[in-house]
């Protein structure tokens, strides 16, 4: 019931249009990752949902109620800020219990619920710590506990893991995901990192230039981006310019015999590494320019007649080798330029 809906929201700061007619729905209990580059307006959208900013036009609905003009302190939406924004003058318990105190929860119950919230984020016994003494990961957990303690139905996270180092980030990512499933809250997490978006979200909404470019499951958005811009944002590298011709798409790799659906004219073509098969008599002639490992998998960057492509490397390849590749048309994805 308490799904979150944003309808036709636009927002401009002076002459700069930040959001331009955004529509978005998040189902009750699900997690949406709002993915966008910096400056795409994703943080502004989050602030509008939280009530910290007013949309110029459009509306925000929580559980069927329109809340567009309801001030932040009466929305009951939990927010985890990018820089945590822990109150420096309160200890951890004071921070986590703040929302409960505002809600008039009495001291005894407050301390129980603070203890519970800290337990949920794995920081039992941290009640009397000074926020200044916490590590980045601990501070992030306290910020999360603070947002969760009043038991909001909707929680918003602004770049929740941006301040943390890689390892901590991946560990917290997994924890966050299972925590949200367990608590059955509706979550919107803003991020610029496709890995983070994919790990956190049941669905990903891609925000580009103030508008939603694509919404879908992580699998859909990453494997089948709707445009070259989205493909770039989700981390796809082998994106070529193409043109729809008789029998397929013409690209720098030749005419690829793929199903173009209803696409016409100039298109973008995604040829993922998995669709590039090394074959001794392959049509695509290329030279290995570099070898690297991505998450432990060997990847070769090859130059195919001026086009740089990522290819899954074979163990015997060395820089300077000439390799021939075949394109598997079934793995190629055609999208808007």
């Amino acid at each position: 019931m308490s799904s979150l809906t944003v309808r036709g929201v636009s927002k401009a700061f002076g002459a700069l249009t930040v959001l331009d007619g955004v529509d978005l729905t998040v189902e009750d209990g699900s997690t949406l990752a709002l993915l966008g580059p910096s400056g795409s307006g994703k943080s502004t959208l989050l602030r509008i949902v939280a009530g910290l900013e007013q949309p110029d036009v459009g509306s925000v609905h929580l559980g069927g109620d329109e809340v567009t003009h309801r001030p932040a302190h009466r929305r009951g939406v939990g927010v985890v800020f990018q820089d945590q924004a822990l109150f420096p003058h309160l200890d951890v318990a004071g921070n986590v219990g703040f929302g409960l105190r505002m809600a008039g929860v009495d001291r005894a119950e407050r301390s129980v619920r603070v203890r519970d919230a800290l337990g949920v984020v794995g920081l039992s016994g941290y009640e009397h710590r000074d926020p200044a003494t916490l590590s980045g990961g601990e501070a992030q957990r306290v910020a999360l506990a603070r947002a969760l303690a009043p038991r909001p139905e909707v929680v918003l996270l602004d770049e929740p893991l941006a301040a943390l180092d890689q390892l901590l980030r991946e560990r917290l990512l997994v924890e966050l995901r299972s925590l949200f499933d367990e608590l059955d809250v509706t979550v919107v997490a803003v991020t610029h990192d496709p890995t983070e978006a994919a790990a956190l979200g049941d669905r990903i909404a891609v925000l580009l230039d103030g508008a939603i470019a694509q919404v879908g499951t992580p699998g859909e958005v990453i494997a089948a981006p709707v445009s070259t811009a989205v493909a770039g944002l989700v981390g796809q590298r082998n994106v070529l310019a193409g043109r729809v011709v008789e029998g397929g798409v013409e690209t720098a790799l030749g005419v690829l015999p793929v199903d173009v659906g209803r696409a016409r004219g100039d298109v973008g073509v995604l040829v993922p590494p998995s669709a590039l098969v090394p074959t001794s008599d392959g049509d695509v002639r290329s030279v290995v320019c570099g070898l690297l490992y991505r998450s432990g998998t060997p990847v070769a960057v090859v130059d195919a007649g001026g086009v740089m492509l990522d290819v899954l490397a074979e163990p015997r390849w060395a820089v300077g080798d000439a390799v021939a590749l075949d394109v598997d048309p079934a793995g190629v994805h055609v999208m808007a330029r």
Partner: protein, 557 residues
Amino acid sequence: MNTAERTGRAPRAVTAAAFAVPVAFLGVFFAVPVATLISTGLRAGGRWDLGAVGEVLTSPTTRSVAWFTLWQAVLSTAVTVVAALPAAWLIGRIRFPGRSLLVAALIVPFVLPTVVVGTAFLAVLGPDGPVAALGGVVGFDVDLRRTATAVILAHVFFNYAVVARTVGATWMAVDPAAEDAARTLGADRWTTFRTVTLPQLRPALAGAASIVFLFTFTSFGVVKILGGPRIATIEVEIHRLTTQLLDLRTASVLSLLQLVAVIAALALYRRAGARRGSARTRAGRSVLHRPAGAEHWGVAATIASAALLVGVPIATLVWRSFDTAGGPGLGYYRALGSTGRGSALFVPPAEAVRNSLVIGAAAATTALVVGGLAAVGLHRLGGRARGVADSSFMLPLGVSAVTVGFGFLIALDEPPLDLRTSPLLIPAAQAVIAIPFVVRTLLPALDAVPARLREAAAALGAPPHRVWWEVDARLLRRPALGALGFAYAISLGEFGATVFIARADAPTVPVAIFRALSQPGALNVGQAMALSTVLLALTAAVMLLVDRVGDARVGGF
């Protein structure tokens, strides 16, 4: 529901309400007295007598006073900046034992009453002082009293901390990595300082220098005591004209002249301030390092010169207060309890101490409330309006305290504002002078409260007034305590305005010191020294308390 409430921000009405009190207060106790004094002087027979302006400005006396005021201020400022720069480096870069103590001790001269500073330098430079003793060793008869040198030395002593603390804080914010980069690119230490460090310090230097210029240009107590009858700043001349010659006409023109100079200095300060954000602060990591190699000498020389400059006058003052005719003893202090024979004072000086403490409490509380509201209002303002309003609240810093004091006498003497006999008159005048310091302490603190914390509180269900109470008020507690203590110290030492409005039977300590000094006799001088030492101790105690419980950043510009 209006826009402001929707976004959870306090409405514009709050800004207006916050400004109402300081505007009304400064209107009644600053603008009206100053305007009344000036218009009284410049109106003859119900008509404006603007011929007086040209007449006064071209008179040789005015020109010589204005010239002295200007060059001593310029020279004082230059010497202060050069003298304090090493201390700024020490504060901004070096970690050494006793660092925080030195930083705290440096502020003491700045809050010392001008009268005490004058008295201390009288003791240092007089025939019985260490300078004369040193001169005697090499066979010179040195008496620097009643000289411009004495005035400038005292000004350096007085303002050393303004430059050292303000520039030092900025120095700390200059990223040493940029200096390291310059070194690796082939710049020697001096070139690095000149091309990398100095440009980043320039706004702070300009800001501090304009404030020092402001203080020395309008200097009163120091010049009054050290300058004698021949050396006078505009401020001293205004005092002489109004109290001795009753020449309001000339005094008004001089007040205007000073006002123009003050506004120019404030404009310069604001321009410097516009670029003050240029030094980039690095979060977290400390930029302080232990001295290495030749730096040891720099540290030692800086500490020694600071100790000499700040320590010798204070030590001499304290020594002289015990140095009675019959050898070292508490004679002068004992005499403070009575009006006694040979004493110039109408009331026992101990009572002046009591007066000062009570008046200080009232003045500091008033300044905190009024200045605090002004800071809240300024914090909510944006753009040009803020710049103009900010400068207006700084104005009392430079407008002649004598003008304010004398303006009180002639403006607040008839209903509905007949306040001449009100016990609140002195606290009000002193609060006017302390308000700029309160604003300068609280406004940066308010600006520094991260907007995110307010948003976090709102998102957690705190309505606007609770956001203010739970976040702003809590984070401002220490700066507010600091501002309160600072205002108290300023009130304890205020002389220029108080000397006009203090009743003869109820002097404050600085007024009592001045009265004692203006009478002949060893007992009077000794009592002045003792009373100055008492005031010194009181002020130092207040400032140490400020450093302990309050925010150590007070007094930076």
